[in-house]
Symmetry: C2
Subunit: 305 residues, 2 copies
């Protein structure tokens, strides 16, 4: 029998990778048969730091799934963000912390989502409810996911449940939260090694609403001006993607993780969706205090479409 | 501030009514503010029996919700089965045991579904996880919901979790399971008091797939021939609904709860969807061993469309 596969979204971030590994670990223990963590893209520098630190192998790369393949989704549900072939896969379970959209099944399933900062926070509860002890390295990865998604508990998406999970997981992983957290986040801000094409794909999410197709991408940095040195080339690449994919809008959010601010490069026919709220000058919008795509950028776009 | 409303699907069955009451009870305790159970239609005879037995008031009838009204859905998620205005409500939470379809939100939410026999089985776990003691009458209602949905644990939808929940809930409610269960189910089989129009609406679910609109309705009885005495008039009413709503198919499943068998009146342009699997004679299909719409009828329809 084909093994069940667990994966997060395309352009995987630390939550998608680490929650896949943690969920596969939990399910393997619960079911008594191997459940395999997978990934739908390259591992970014931040995630690499976490995997190296806790000495865990990267999940297996997959690009599509066969019909009736049994799958578990973490950190996403929208088919547009999932593996190719997802429409005909058998979705056994979803553990997530996003809105539900572009998602459907023909049969009942296990679906657990909470409006919290990170999928691993929901997983932390599932380990506890099922009385499964969390191993040290798995705790480290779950902790890394929460640090990443909440920018060390500073993002407005952070809830009390995230804080509690982080506290417990840091004990199990036996690390100093702020030292490790800042080191991990900083590892993810080394953007020099990426081409502009890679940069805009690093953490890009494709969205669709009433035939309005758009992408919101985000990168973390310790210096927004450093990234903006490459603005012209980044814009060229974005324009290519807009043309190729028939997008109405591409928002490239550059987030300063130290000062908790963002600027965004905004391109496409429908830049008005952003400019209704943030002034755009030379394709650039200042977004003071913005750090969360999910909580701050996405609702704005959805409202203004 | 408007109070949060909890409700199940239209044409409410015992699970939709009792799980609304139980979820409202749980949320009121968790949030420390009143959460109000509601219903989207008339209470059927089976549910009345349960409410009377455990001396609990029927939830408030509502027909639509205002924009931004805070709501919690139980026992359904499909907008086609929900309250009018649901598209613009603020869905805080869903607790369910169905597939996910025709459902979307613009913001993250609490969503807990499990592939079990009844919503109240999932609620039973939520009470426990949150360390909230279940009161005797609430336990009785949750038990009634599980008995109803699983036909006293005989339906193929029944899982070990349902059995375990029933066992615990019967202790809290302090009742004899099989005596109470059979009495309650039998109370629901008194169909004489309904007009044919009411009969086909009693537990009807509207579905839609790729513009194929159909309804699967179900009634429980201790004598299928008794119901079939009214076949001609029932068919007339079904034809009216097909015309009014532009349906491709209407399946009216009559289930013998003692012998666990069904016959179905099948009408519409696309009766082939059923006749591919069950022979139809004079608009009537024999469905030996069929008792579950969700597990046995719906997947068949979806496959054959």
């Amino acid at each position: 029998m084909e093994k069940t596969l667990v994966f997060g979204h395309k352009n995987p971030d630390t939550d998608s990778i680490c929650s896949s590994i943690a969920m596969a670990n939990l399910q393997t223990k619960l079911l008594g048969e191997e459940v395999v963590p997978c990934r739908l893209g390259e591992i970014n520098e931040e995630t690499k730091y976490a995997l190296n630190y806790f000495d865990v192998e990267a999940p297996k790369l997959i690009e599509k799934v066969e019909e009736a393949q049994k799958v578990i989704l973490v950190d996403h549900n929208e088919f547009t963000q999932s593996v190719d072939g997802i429409e005909n896969a058998k979705i056994l379970a979803v553990v997530d912390h996003h809105r539900i959209n572009n998602f459907q099944t023909s049969e009942p399933l296990f679906y657990y989502a909470q409006p919290v900062g990170c999928t691993s926070t929901v997983l932390f509860e599932l380990f506890n409810t099922n009385n499964i002890k969390i191993e040290q390295n798995i705790a480290g990865l779950m902790l890394s996911a929460i640090i990443s998604d909440t920018l060390l508990l500073k993002s407005p998406t952070t809830t009390d449940k995230d804080k509690k999970a982080v506290e417990e997981l840091a004990k199990i992983a036996n690390i100093d939260l702020s030292t490790y957290g800042l080191d991990m986040l900083k590892a993810g801000t080394n953007l020099d090694k990426y081409t502009e094409q890679e940069l805009i794909n690093l953490d890009a999410k494709s969205m669709e609403k009433d035939n309005f197709k758009y992408i919101i991408a985000q990168v973390n940095t310790v210096s927004i001006p450093d990234v903006l040195k490459r603005k012209e080339k980044i814009e060229e690449e974005i324009k290519k993607v807009i043309k190729e994919k028939g997008l109405c809008l591409f928002v490239f959010v550059i987030t300063d993780i130290v000062n908790s601010n963002s600027k965004a490069i905004v391109l496409g026919e429908r830049t008005d969706v952003i400019s209704k709220t943030y002034e755009i000058k030379d394709n650039l919008a200042e977004m003071p205090g913005v750090v969360s795509r999910k909580k701050q950028v996405l609702p704005l776009v959805e409202k203004n479409i």
